[in-house]
């Protein structure tokens, strides 16, 4: 019984964490129309930023406060250098360019940080476990992580739904030409959205770093799971990404306990099932 409860918490936690990455991906695809395979690299960037900034400043939350703007800038630059050339090209070219970027980023990581895995300490004031019930305790950091993820997710939804920038973003998603005809610079909107997407992925990487440490290729699994979530939830749908993330988080958490050999397999089976029933994803527009 307590095992089930623990796995429920773990599933919720990993679901919320992966939602940050997946929502960035679905935003970028939904609005820019670009398949960004290098999204996982920004998760990796986040993990290693957490490593360097935490060792410099001593606290992963301080690292987060500095790292998110850094990742945002980085995304801004990448969009300017590479991604903007892809808007009018077909999926194949997008896949290729962003795949080649992965190769470059992976190797840059090796150059800067080397190939050994590094552990990142959770802040000392959150290092304890909290007793939830008799004989059942849970690390405080993971609870804090859930709260932060929820806060970030809420902030994102508020920005998109309630602010002027958010309204422009939603408008650009449904009709780019019209937004331009109204006199807005859609290139700048796109650049901001891409940067925000990378910042979200990096934030996920930074928050996860004390739990799963930083190692080469840490973003690969996140990338593929994020894609699975985007497909399950429906391209461009934040709500779909949220539901999909929780589904995947739970499937993974329980799969690891009850069918350890097939836990990764189950995620993809879940996706295949959703696609057969609803080919455009749960909340996708056909």
């Amino acid at each position: 019984m307590s095992l089930i409860f623990i796995q429920l918490l773990n599933g919720l936690q990993s679901g919320l964490l992966i939602f940050l990455a997946a929502s960035g991906l679905t935003l970028v695809f939904g609005i820019l129309g670009v398949i960004n395979l290098s999204h996982g690299s920004f998760y990796m960037l986040g993990a290693y930023l957490a490593l360097s900034l935490t060792s410099a400043f001593g606290d992963v939350f301080l690292a987060l406060a500095l790292g998110i703007p850094l990742a945002f800038l980085c995304g801004f630059l990448i969009e300017f250098l590479f991604i903007r050339h892809l808007y009018n090209r077909d999926h194949l070219q997008q896949v290729l360019l962003t795949f080649a970027l992965i190769l470059v980023f992976n190797e840059l990581q090796q150059v800067v940080w080397g190939s050994y895995p590094h552990a990142i300490p959770a802040p000392s004031y959150l290092a304890d476990s909290v007793r939830l019930t008799e004989g059942l305790s849970y690390p405080v950091y993971r609870l804090a992580l859930m709260a932060i993820c929820l806060a970030l997710a809420l902030a994102m939804v508020l920005v998109i739904q309630k602010t002027r920038v958010g309204r422009l973003i939603r408008a650009a998603e449904s009709n780019r030409e019209m937004v331009e005809a109204l006199g807005f610079d859609s290139r700048m909107i796109f650049r901001l959205v891409f940067a925000a997407g990378t910042a979200l992925a990096a934030a996920a990487g930074m928050l996860a770093a004390p739990i799963e440490s930083a190692y080469p290729g840490v973003g690969d699994r996140v990338l593929i799971v994020s894609f699975v979530i985007v497909v399950i939830g429906g391209i461009g749908s934040i709500r779909g990404a949220f539901i999909g993330s929780l589904l995947i988080g739970m499937a993974d958490a329980f799969g690891k306990v009850f069918m350890p050999q097939f836990s990764s397999f189950m995620i993809y089976a879940l996706m295949a099932l959703v696609l057969v029933i609803r080919p455009a994803g749960l909340f996708g527009r056909a």
């Binding site: 398949i35 070219q93 896949v95 080649a100 985007v230 050999q261 397999f265 993809y268 295949a272 696609l275």
Partner: protein
Amino acid sequence: MLTRPNPSVIIFFLILLAGLVALPFLAGTYPVKLVTRIIILATFVLSLDLLIGITGLVSFGHGAFFGCGAYAVYFVSPESEAANVFVALGAGLAFGGAAAFVVGAFAMLTRGFYFIMVTLAAGQMMFSLFHDTDIAKGSDGAFVNVKPELTFHGTSLLDFSNWHQFYYVCLLVLVAAYFSLFGLVRSPFGRVLQGIRANEVRMSALGYDTYRYKLAAFTVAGMLAGLAGALFASIDGFVTPELFNWHQSGLAIMMVVLGGAGTLYGPIVGAFAYAMLEEVLKSASIVGPLIADHWRLGTGATLVLAVLMSPDGLAGLLCWKRRRVIRASSGAPQGGNISSRPVRVAKGLLTRGLSKNFVGLRAISDISIGFEANKVHAIIGPNGAGKTTFINLLSGAAKATAGRIMIDHRDVTGWPAHRIARAGLGRSFQLTNIFPRFSVRENCALAAQTHKASLWRLRDRPYQAQEARAVDRALSVAGLGDRGDAVAGNLSNGEQRQLEIAMLIASGADLLVLDEPLAGMGPEETQRVVALLRDLVRDHTIILIEHDMDAVFAVADTLTVLVQGKLLAQGRPEEIRADQAVLEAYLGHQAKVGAVA
């Protein structure tokens, strides 16, 4: 359409082949091993071009079938004996093909972004299957202890542990694979695949079950990838789940595009170029130790630049003139005397209570109407009346929410587009919808081929004469008798619309549904097409949407007026002209028709 490579390419490849054949006599073991690896890689990448370049399917899970082929060798190899060469390679072929068939059956339900993701996920699924479970020794990989051999009565004919023998087998497989695929792509089957890449919607409107063609192509590509994988397992006698890794699939796509997708020979160049680049960047003596340590940075950066700079790939560099040479017009236009065609009873069409709801919107409501055979029926109505939705329902491009559709008493409600096309209904689209890079004749040949469109038709011969006749007839009826060899994309707008009609005729459809066949035409072209339509009703039934009221009244036998998704009136032109309700609802706004009336 895939054409023979031009002379410069052929010369390049003859030199390359001569070099490859001579290599074992000139070089030591290391280069031979390296080139063996590259040749196997080239075979694998070549198989991917059938999907990406020919059929237009961007598969991101192709590495999985390569991995399946490799593991197949492990599965069929006894513990301490050699497997038979044919058994090992056959197992790779079969396992790769079977996996591709299963994955493809799901993946072909999706398109675009979803297709890329589904194939990627399928590859990862197989990766985790071999990585996490112990069906084949798990994440450590597994050894094929003795490499495959071929023995006959105790004498060894072929032994894969002999480097030279194995090298020549791999080279032979690559050459055979290239020529087999070349033949396949040039066959009627391959023509359909290329048609799907150019314009899938059109292909299913012509009556092709594109799902089955794509699945067949996917399976063939999987078989060839499996064969390459089986050879790969014989290099080191070692297989690992990393073979399934999505990075392999990504690199394979890279090589296809780097070399030039859709040429078949390009990917071979791409594989060699990539492997050479990697080899150069890895060797410290050439580039220095710092770069050699981080050679992946070099390949990654090169690939980024390649994608940004040269979308056509290396194949584009090889042939400096890649444009198709347009052959001189062969043969005079045939049968100018159109009106001598016999009158033939065509099919009619009937709808009962046909309705279509979009979310929160009733696009078509409860339309019951009959379209009599051998007449021209025009559907008119203000913008947003649901005209295009209506004919989308007729042709199966959209599914009706309620109601029935009958073609000559045959209930075709709910049939997919390609089946309705086979039942004799051919349609054209609002925007011109041809295969611009095919010649006019090839466009029509693709349409004529639907007649005998058994999936595995690999040869033209049995039906060649019959189809050529159908094409000639269609072209001359449509007034394009002397334009057969022109590239369709170079035709004038009016001629392209004529070509669309010619394709419908060639496909054997006798119920033609045309969406604005006169759109964008000048007065002279309009007149020509109106005359063509009047002539066609001798042996066809025509339903068309048109905005040009003068032309409508000139060409139509009956008019059908739709307003806001409802049937307002149907009748002969003069009845419609006199109909008070129509005048109020629609014609009253049209100054032009007001003048006519």
